[in-house]
């Protein structure tokens, strides 16, 4: 019962007070796409398309397993996709088509990334 209560009252991203290991003082220079992703978040906020609270809730809605597996900006971009789908601003098919176009333009082997399109179509909404 305490476990269920904990699950009910604690968001998957709410870490305050949990047991955790030592602090490893890691940092890294953002990769270009990560920086673009951050700038995109700010611009989406400026335009009131996705605000900071919505972004945080979007990440929480990914659930503990995905949150644990994705890196910081991977969580953000997946959360943005889902929020944009939910708001009806973009459709999953639009994103799948665009990803195909981007892949072709960048010379990415599309067979290798075919699963990517399937992924965006089946993204939980």
């Amino acid at each position: 019962m305490p476990d269920k209560h904990e699950l009910l009252t604690r968001l998957p991203t709410e870490f305050g007070g949990l047991e955790a290991g030592p602090i490893e003082r890691v940092e890294h220079e953002l990769e270009p796409w990560e920086k673009r992703c951050h700038a995109l978040a700010d611009v989406l906020d400026f335009h009131k398309i996705i605000n900071t609270e919505e972004k945080r809730r979007g990440v929480e809605a990914l659930g503990a397993e995905l949150i644990g597996k994705l890196t910081y900006y991977e969580r953000w971009i997946v959360a943005f996709s889902n929020i944009l789908f939910q708001k009806g601003i973009l459709a999953p098919d639009d994103v799948a088509r665009k990803m195909q176009e981007v892949a072709t333009r960048l010379g990415v082997n599309t067979a290798e990334h075919a699963h990517a399109n399937d992924c965006s179509k089946s993204m939980p909404s």
């Binding site: 990769e31 796409w33 673009r36 906020d45 910081y72 971009i77 176009e101 990415v108 992924c119």
Partner: protein
């Protein structure tokens, strides 16, 4: 599910990333799923006129212009100008704006002063809220679980891991940031810096001191 290109060697990948970001095809660099998703979302929003392509570029420049040097300038000014310090503690955002530091978001800023009796530490237990306009982007450790989990319940142990021992008679205050309100620590001016000028003082102030995990020391 998806092969995460993050696992690759960052050093080696970097140049390729830059070329790919510039839209130049390279032989061996393959952008990952999430990078292509980011490009796709951005391009679709631009095509539909919901955001401007130039806005993203401009915001990248804004992000690049924000470094802990800005926060250090604020701290040094507060150390030498007691009237400024009063205004800074009363309204952090307004005082920073006075120094020409614009806030590109809707966040407020509360500046917390370290004294002989109080040591402040900032954290965001829920996500990664941080005083970005004055410090730039947070380090990874600030965003990861150990710091966020433990800073609120065992701050002295956390500080000790940064090599900072706070005497028992000094109160440790931990401030948990929110989407609307961010914090910045005003560290104690180090002993021996009495004759330092403003720029010399600013050069002593580190990002980690303004998060509150280390003191400012004479280098």
């Amino acid at each position: 599910m998806v092969d995460l290109h993050h696992d690759h060697n960052h050093e080696q990948d970097h140049g390729d990333h830059d070329r790919a970001a510039a839209g130049i095809g390279t032989g061996d660099y393959v952008p990952g799923y999430f990078e292509m998703l980011e490009m796709s979302i951005g391009e679709l929003l631009v095509e539909r006129g919901l955001i401007g392509a130039a806005e993203i570029r401009r915001q990248i420049e804004v992000l690049d212009s924000r470094t802990p040097a800005l926060g250090a300038k604020v701290v040094a000014r507060a150390w030498i100008d007691s009237e400024f310090k009063k205004r800074l503690l009363a309204n952090g955002r307004a005082a920073c704006e006075e120094l020409g530091i614009s806030f590109y978001d809707d966040t407020g800023l509360i500046v917390l002063e370290n004294t002989d009796n109080v040591h402040n530490l900032i954290v965001c237990t829920l996500c990664s809220c941080y005083p970005r306009p004055v410090l730039g982007l947070p380090p990874d450790w600030y965003k990861l679980k150990p710091y966020r989990a433990r800073a609120v319940t065992e701050p002295r142990a956390v500080l000790a891991e940064f090599g900072t021992i706070i005497p028992d008679d000094v109160e440790v205050r931990v401030s948990d940031s929110t989407a609307q309100v961010r914090f910045l620590v005003l560290p104690k001016r180090p002993k021996g810096s009495e004759n330092f000028g403003e720029k010399q003082l600013a050069a002593l102030v580190t990002r980690d001191a303004m998060i509150g995990v280390v003191p400012v020391e004479l280098s």
